[in-house]
Symmetry: D2
Subunit: 338 residues, 4 copies
Amino acid sequence: MIIIMQSGATTKQIASVVTRIKELGYGAHLSEGQERTIIGVVGEDRVLMEGEEFTLLDGVERTMRVTSPYKLASRDFHPANTLVPLNGSVVGDIKLTLIAGPCSVENRTQMLETAHAVKEAGATALRGGAYKPRSSPYSFQGLGEEGLELLAEAREATGLPIVTEVMDPALVPLVCKYADVLQIGARNMQNYTLLNAVGESQHTVLLKRGLMSTMEELLMSAEYILAHGNNRIMLCERGIRTFETYTRNTFDINAIPVLKLKTHLPILADPSHATGKREYVAAASKAAIAAGADGLIIEVHCNPEKALSDGAQSLRPEQFAKLVTDLRRIAEAVDRTL
Amino acid sequence: MIIIMQSGATTKQIASVVTRIKELGYGAHLSEGQERTIIGVVGEDRVLMEGEEFTLLDGVERTMRVTSPYKLASRDFHPANTLVPLNGSVVGDIKLTLIAGPCSVENRTQMLETAHAVKEAGATALRGGAYKPRSSPYSFQGLGEEGLELLAEAREATGLPIVTEVMDPALVPLVCKYADVLQIGARNMQNYTLLNAVGESQHTVLLKRGLMSTMEELLMSAEYILAHGNNRIMLCERGIRTFETYTRNTFDINAIPVLKLKTHLPILADPSHATGKREYVAAASKAAIAAGADGLIIEVHCNPEKALSDGAQSLRPEQFAKLVTDLRRIAEAVDRTL
Amino acid sequence: MIIIMQSGATTKQIASVVTRIKELGYGAHLSEGQERTIIGVVGEDRVLMEGEEFTLLDGVERTMRVTSPYKLASRDFHPANTLVPLNGSVVGDIKLTLIAGPCSVENRTQMLETAHAVKEAGATALRGGAYKPRSSPYSFQGLGEEGLELLAEAREATGLPIVTEVMDPALVPLVCKYADVLQIGARNMQNYTLLNAVGESQHTVLLKRGLMSTMEELLMSAEYILAHGNNRIMLCERGIRTFETYTRNTFDINAIPVLKLKTHLPILADPSHATGKREYVAAASKAAIAAGADGLIIEVHCNPEKALSDGAQSLRPEQFAKLVTDLRRIAEAVDRTL
Amino acid sequence: MIIIMQSGATTKQIASVVTRIKELGYGAHLSEGQERTIIGVVGEDRVLMEGEEFTLLDGVERTMRVTSPYKLASRDFHPANTLVPLNGSVVGDIKLTLIAGPCSVENRTQMLETAHAVKEAGATALRGGAYKPRSSPYSFQGLGEEGLELLAEAREATGLPIVTEVMDPALVPLVCKYADVLQIGARNMQNYTLLNAVGESQHTVLLKRGLMSTMEELLMSAEYILAHGNNRIMLCERGIRTFETYTRNTFDINAIPVLKLKTHLPILADPSHATGKREYVAAASKAAIAAGADGLIIEVHCNPEKALSDGAQSLRPEQFAKLVTDLRRIAEAVDRTL
């Protein structure tokens, strides 16, 4: 933490900031510039993160954080890539992870048919929502436990591990019974009750970036889970909200290399939500792999025209199969496999 | 819902969209323009909200919603202002509501001292957080039930009703035992499990706009609560996230007149979060009342330099008292009282 | 400027940063923290603004600016309010400035009729565009010099000084011949060729904030004009671009108190563009005055249904007259006059 | 254009909207829904783009545009890719375009050394700024015509065509004398005086997306140039402004496939500005090519630590050479060459 004094700050004001720093158990280091004095707070400053204690003292202009507010999620703390085991394979390794399936579990036929199709095309895991966060109370809210049972049946039939969203902290134990990976959706990225619950569960987690959350906030949310000793976490960039209207979200492709540098956790991309339109999913998928993503999560539906949610951004199985073929070429061009 | 066909759409494609509309139980009305055909879907289209069923049919260019996606929250549906009773007074009436108090409940002395101070200055309700959503797991997370007990004691001492945040659906019954108003914080605006829980509780709710949420999404979240027959809701504009860095958030003052027009629910403003800096709270408070807000929720702390959270945006009691005096003049200038 | 070294930076790396600082003619001040070393650059650092010279040196993590990048625009440099003379009155004083008129000059009747109407209602200056920046080349682009002549005629008839936009640096001398105030529109806030031209002209300038520009960038653009010795500048907040769709722009009301604190230049608000819809102009105008704005610029049209531009956000003269009456009450409540 | 009437609109109100439509020379087509009447405006509606003429008529709720506001830029109007000739090669073809060079022209040695280095590494054109738009009046503003002469000399020495920015409409003829491609920078994307000047020049243009502009606005700015009969235009995505702070801008990778679909003009990407940090330029470059970009414009500097602008985002020549090798593999994976 650095404390920048106002240009006319008095000696007494400076002394009283120093006193306060020492009261809090830290050291103070003064640097007297031509225009103003700057005070460095020496010691671990993670708990002082916002520096609010100081901005209100007389003569203080503002404060600036020097260290990152997350620790366990940081690559400084854990330099090697974290590899997350997933049903015999590993997320974060040379071989890319490819999660595919419908937005919502709708019925047995739809689920099994899609599961077989994505497996055949090359998917390594199956997605499907049993509990759906919908902005309207009048929209389809998911099949609930029946959906989880259908997902388990699809896993039985195909061998693909299951990724599904959990929204209610009270349902974490139930969802853990069925799912291989608990998905935390974008709207719940800062639902701390839920983050604590999945952290405690020690289950594998797919943590999606909020649609208006910074990368730093994403890492802070991962820190909540890591603080419970659970490091089986994959992060997921899924598009952020901006002023652009031609796409549903803006795919922040920069997040891929930035997060690879800042954290040891694997990073997936969700090109379906990041674009919101089927016609752009292939380009966004290729871009993500080229930028260094560890995998993708893609919406695939056997009959998108009749999907109960997100039809417009879902690929048909044959489109997905074609995309996997194209992605293999990109993967090789960046020394990965698929 | 309006469906816009591509400029070269064939008669067969148009016919097949019409067939699909009828399958779903609606009427279809064709309008043939010079460049393209437009099809109106006749009937209630709230469940068709996104129109995704149609965008994937051959020949369709895009769809546009005509009616708003919310109904119970809409002023069309309920033209008169909803008045929310609060401890003998009423929110949404001529007399403004003024909620004040610390960000977090920290200890008995702080709470009682602040409660008396804001009461004396003219506050009509007391705020204080017992459960705090913090972006860092290492920050102070609130006193929990002990905090609720201190709030109840402060109500006993001052007669001010209590507003406090609930984050965990499982704790809704407990918080209801102590609080007069359940606050849903910005990060939880789309936590549907929580919205359903407070809806069912039939308790009075203060619903804050998410920092990444449109006004329409705020109204959709209110709709979740209203759908449980609970209309004791006050909305709250508390600043949105933009690219601007001189303030913590951007206070969307437009939201006041827009929401007054679109919905019958009362609208408060939170100038403390909307600016993030104490020196701008007075100007933002005056602006909110001048724009037609039904009240304010303001952070006040007896010793902001030592606050455990949000000190930088908290007013001292004497600053709050001065502000109330200034706000009375603005209130009169817009035919309200305080 | 503060330079933050990486946590593992070597003594040699630190020494070489210090050497570079001295080469550039500044002093260096080291502060050795527990985790890392921080180096203060002592001396005027306005020209080092971005600190890029240092971020690429080995061992440097990042740099942080300490002083603001603007100087002449800063209240530190010029503590008293700058008062801008305008046709006998003064902008930035107790008495508020009220500029009103149509978006575009369309014809003689429209211009004269509107000029008389706004004068009678209480306006202190007349606006009207002769050169219009339109996003489509197919939209009405303004009457050009004929429009300037009509504005001059309206001034002659009413005594109101004229505010009109200039877009082309080559036309600055021509527009100066007719206009009392040169308006720099939002799209041209960072058109440096134009800023230099109006700076050199020594003419009074109304500088509008870009729709996605920070307040700091607005002040930097003012600095361009001030650097030519021209301090006859009024700033104008006119709404920024965000994700919200119910309004054309988001009125950043915070900008009023923030700019009043940071700069000595007067601040106006443009509630017409900041909302984009006539029904919200009154609330936004009241909010601006309550927040401390020095005046308003409002679109008024005698026949908005037939306006060639911005009809939807224009008030009719009788609506404007009613608003002025309401604004007088707000002005008094904040110790101003209108 | 579609006009949506309010739910309670009267027959008289509907009739009067129809009358107004006919007065303007269009046809009207009524569609009476259960809740409300919708009126289609039949005929070319590009000039009616905003629909403001109608929103103010009694009983109208809102209007919606059906056709895009641009025509000449649209792929509907010109289905085949436009190929822009550039010094013997072609932009928009199978072979990718690779423009590289320093942010600013600083001196003869720097320019020639960099030109030879990028040529050798595989660049197909040379960039360098002689006129620099800087947010501070105290920053280096470019060498002006001397810079243009150095660029011409570098072309002479290497055979690489020259891309350089023009900011002042009055300087377009001068810059045309030296440059092969006129760059319109992000801050000038809606400087219509300048767009008209480069349109008239019939010179090749590189049009960068504004950091605050939608893709539609970018296409409208291209339309300004196309309206002068000049179709030698390359568009360039260079990052937009969002709330994210870990990168200088947010690279809108979605813009690549969206623009390829909407327009016939070639699309380049600028990974240097889109990330703002050298360490992310390689990942962003690969992503752009994988997503279908027709080329890249990359900042390369022989001594970035001493660059007068944008050093932090510039690659060293050897980093650029390594990147070109990596990009060749991506190019092949998407059936392009480099």
